[in-house]
Symmetry: C2
Subunit: 333 residues, 2 copies
């Protein structure tokens, strides 16, 4: 669990895209984003207050989050100076970088001396149990994709917002590094040891109020041969009551797999639903989330109408149109 709220470290980001983790935090959990810390030459701007370390501490920030990709996988000396000062000012550090904070001896030494924590969210910090499959109270929804990177995290976060707006009880459950940094906790599922994957998802989505929804961040796809085992662990460990099918209609082939065709939404439904019913016989598919970013407004509207007619389920692009209709579908269960 990472202490919130955050000061968002943008470093010397070469452009806005390099700061997309910080942007995600600011977009989805603005209450976690006290301010931004930009170094000389930084080309990204979240449109929130620039703060010194001292100002951010006074404003209540507990953790400095590295919200920017670094160049060449190296934590530069310029960054290092700021990170050391932040520890000395009383901040914990959190990072989703491939190269780990804990592998930097100078940061480790200062963190020990100051009693602060280094959070590398790519690395599991919990000894997860083996899944026991016991039915849990409360409800769970999982987005499953025809492919990787079709907008499952975005769908889950938009759904969480829409459900809160309705006064429904919901919690976004992060299973990837960006989601974990956005919310401050979760399971870095792709880094969990095979035997404990499903157990880590059970751990992440425990017993809850009967009218509470866990919105579980999806990963991979049952059709993506590189990561399908991770998806399977989400389907069985999450024992979802509801599935949302996620799709990106313009993709020529599976991401990173030029010889693999993207399956249809029907194939996804017919594959994922029976698998989900092994763990939860009451599971149903409640809606469809389409990433229409490569379509015009008219094309998107026509495509969504076609999917809705074909599949008999609400079909939305949560980025363009919000997730209200998906929240309605869950409220009706």
């Amino acid at each position: 669990m990472i202490e919130t709220p955050y000061l968002l470290f943008l470093g010397d980001a070469p452009d806005q895209l390099a700061a997309k983790v910080a942007q995600g935090i600011k977009d989805w959990r603005p209450e976690n984003a006290v301010g931004q810390y930009r170094m000389e030459g930084c080309k990204a701007d979240l449109g929130i207050a620039d703060m010194t370390l001292t100002e951010a501490r006074e404003a209540g920030a507990k953790t400095l989050v590295i919200g920017v990709a670094n160049r060449g996988g190296v934590i530069s000396q310029e960054w290092k100076k700021v990170l050391v000062m932040a520890l000395e000012e009383g901040f914990d550090l959190a990072s989703g970088l491939h190269n780990l904070l804990r592998d930097e001896p100078d940061l480790v030494a200062v963190a020990e001396a100051t009693g602060r924590s280094l959070h590398d969210v790519r690395v599991p910090e919990v000894d997860y149990p083996i899944a026991n499959g016991v039915k849990r109270s409360g409800k769970r929804v999982l987005a499953v994709g025809t492919d990787c990177s079709v907008g499952k995290m975005y769908t889950a976060l938009a759904l969480d917002n829409a459900m809160r707006e309705r006064g429904m009880k919901s919690t976004f459950r992060a299973t990837g590094q960006t989601g974990i940094l956005i919310t401050g906790d979760g399971v870095p599922l792709d880094a969990v040891v095979a035997d404990f994957m499903a157990g880590s998802v059970e751990w992440l989505t425990p017993d809850n109020d009967d009218d509470h929804w866990d919105i579980i961040e999806g990963q991979g796809s049952v059709f993506h041969v590189s990561y399908s085992g991770v998806t399977m662990a989400l389907i069985h460990g999450g024992q979802p009551d509801a599935l949302i099918l996620s799709h990106e209609p313009t993709r020529a082939h599976m991401r990173g797999l030029p010889d693999y065709e993207v399956p249809t939404l029907e194939a996804l439904r017919d594959t994922a639903l029976p698998l989900a019913r092994v763990a939860n016989p009451a599971c149903q598919v409640v809606g469809i989330s389409v990433n229409t970013q490569h379509m015009s407004e008219d094309e998107a509207a026509a495509y969504l109408a076609g999917v809705e007619a074909r599949m008999g389920l609400p079909a939305v692009d949560p980025f363009r149109h919000g997730a209200a209709r998906l929240a309605d579908a869950l409220a009706a269960i």
Copy 2:
């Protein structure tokens, strides 16, 4: 890769069952079992030559394999003395124990001083790639089960024997600790990090002669919610040309999951085959392996005949009847 052949260490095994790993090596790779080393009070006997360390070295043994479960997860001082002497005599050590050889400082020190290797087969020793899904040459067969522990490893080893007897080219590919100790190499799949599971199976079963069969050791079950992700990685990483369905008909519920019914062979076929065809559209189900150990000879024969009629596929218990008919089915592909 563990150097063969072995001296099989039975320690102070309290009964024959405690030495089942050693028994598996002796049964399936007798050429790897130069002799056995038994301590005072050992109640297990493999029926092969008792040897001192020196005798075993002279007979060609390269590695001392701990082929026995230890009590309470502790490597006792009595064992330790023998293990240290073995390193000093020039043996490598190999173990599938939960507590690791590498966590014993005295063994590590002696291994370093003598230049010997400590193999803990529960721990991956390779940086596996992420699966790329590219079609590989050669053929592969995978046993998939209605449940865990239904005899998938036994089926694979029996099939390997039957195929060799026919002069077919085949290699048993171990994915669990016992299999790895039996053959000397493999992937400890349940200990691999999620993102690399399918890639480790691709690595284990690389391009090969067009008429060569990799016989991939199965793990878990797509219906077992604790381990289904591991099974999925085998199905997609292994890109099998042939599946064998494995079943234990007398089980009251899924292993360790009292609330989960064991699926039918038909349900297994209808779930696993479409998943396998994502990675290999030519995949087919070629036969059925039934563990009839809890049935009389007559019951077993009647059950197998019934399955064969129902499913239209050869159905055998490889322990009772050998795997010849499964090898025939593969030879016909």
